[in-house]
Subunit: 282 residues, 2 copies
């Protein structure tokens, strides 16, 4: 006869996705939990999504769904650009976007500038499949403030990928037109940029702001969207600023091993549900 | 000087989306919390998604995102069918799918069969904007076991929409071929069915099962997908079984006031990310 139900150790990681919404994942093992000069880093094994990394409590990558986000961030701008060779990645210290960029043999150099070297190290230590692109001779990983870096580089890059955290603290400037102007100046005449711009369900105001700020700077601005389960609401947007070329067209094939991205998905991701067109007043 | 931080009442609704994943929403007010003959019904005001209804702890509808799911479930089959007039909705007691169906003037009758009359009543009481289709003279709402109902109706419907809860308890049979055979028999020769078939991230096995079970019965089976923030992972699938017509084509325009669905989205939703094609061995 059971007098008391069998109990067991129950560990949960909880992300406060907003003040009013939380996502919790069961944790089997905590691998890293520390505060760097810039942020909290948390790495754990979870039952639902495999290994995860959170920065300041917000999930950045998980083994199970990282491909959705990283493939979109890399292949949308690369496949839209007529002849991309040099790429700058702002943030993205986990290396997932870098790995995807380097799948294209015509990419000659990819410079990753992440302010926090401990994020880069955590990814090397705990996410070998995500960080592996850092070993590629075409990769250059710098740990410094990307806003400073970009102001010192003019007319150098074909593509700039802004793989930032949410716009708080040191990342706040990444959603504003002075930064977009610096990005514009760092790009060559055919260049284009892409930035993650949050969810229209959870952060409609922020998305509208990024979109309208980018329009002050780039002649062509478009939005595309995709699924990303562990980001708030699972519906993610990407905003592209382009000097000359329509980013909704593909000019190169998808790498063969993609799991989310394909040339058809590329075109389709620029077709927005009506509520999102209305939100942007398109 | 503050000796103790100001505190306040904190109420959260938590859905156990899986044994290892939970979504929590801040609750301002609980409007209904009861157990019927069939399930628990919970209705509350939440800060993030407005009013929500959960059955057995699983969110079914929220004010803010219900349109994503209801528009797909209704307009995909209706716009794909050459001449739809009579529709059967299995489950869907909230009335959201019914409302969308009746936006098309050429629909002459929509029969909704939900086993639980208290779900229907809760929707009438608390979700007037979702349940309003029930007042339409073309709507017929029945509270009985849909599995029994469908076996007694042969060659009667143009479209059957299976708006079920997760396949547990009384809904378990809704993901198996004997049920799909009954649906097939209830359909006219040009008929087609659509069923919600969960998320490939959270319930890959169940999705594969529904897909392969439907293929045993229907000559044409296709999958489409869409965003649905409050369902687990936010990435939702819909499986369509058709007797004759390719459901990936549209034969009628979208209703004017759609927020998620459009004719372009219809076509695009059948283009699957490679990981999902692989999962289904397409």
């Amino acid at each position: 006869m059971e007098l008391w139900p069998k109990r067991h150790t129950d560990i949960w990681f909880t992300e406060n996705q907003s003040p009013d919404m939380k996502l919790s994942l069961r944790v089997d093992k905590i691998l890293l939990n520390k505060t760097t000069d810039f942020q909290d880093i948390f790495v754990a094994e979870t039952r639902e999504y495999g290994r995860i990394m959170a920065l300041d409590g917000a999930i950045q990558v998980t083994d199970k769904d990282e491909f959705c986000y990283h493939e979109m961030m890399a292949h949308i701008p690369i496949c839209a650009h007529p002849d991309p060779r040099r790429i700058l990645i702002v943030g993205g210290g986990d290396g997932g976007v870098l790995r995807e960029c380097l799948k294209h043999q015509f990419i000659k150099e990819a410079v990753l500038v992440d302010i926090d070297k401990e994020v880069v190290q955590a990814s090397i230590d705990f996410f070998p499949a995500i960080s592996k692109g850092m070993k590629d001779p075409r990769a250059k990983v710098l740990n410094m403030d990307a806003l400073g870096f970009i102001r010192e580089h003019t007319n150098e890059f074909d593509i700039v990928i802004v793989d930032s955290t949410d716009p708080v603290d040191f990342a706040a400037g990444l959603f504003q037109s002075p930064f977009y102007t610096d990005v514009y100046n760092s790009l060559k005449p055919e260049g284009l940029m892409i930035a993650q711009t949050e969810s229209p369900f959870a952060e409609a105001k922020l998305l509208r702001q990024a979109y309208s700020e980018m329009k002050k700077v780039f002649p062509l601005v478009s939005l595309c969207w995709g699924a990303m389960p562990t980001y708030p609401t699972g519906f993610w947007t990407y905003t592209i600023g382009s000097k000359e070329f329509d980013p909704a067209q593909t000019r190169h094939p998808a790498p063969e091993d993609c799991k989310y991205y394909s040339s058809k998905l590329h075109l389709n991701s620029f077709v927005l549900p009506p509520f999102l067109e209305n939100l942007l007043e398109l």
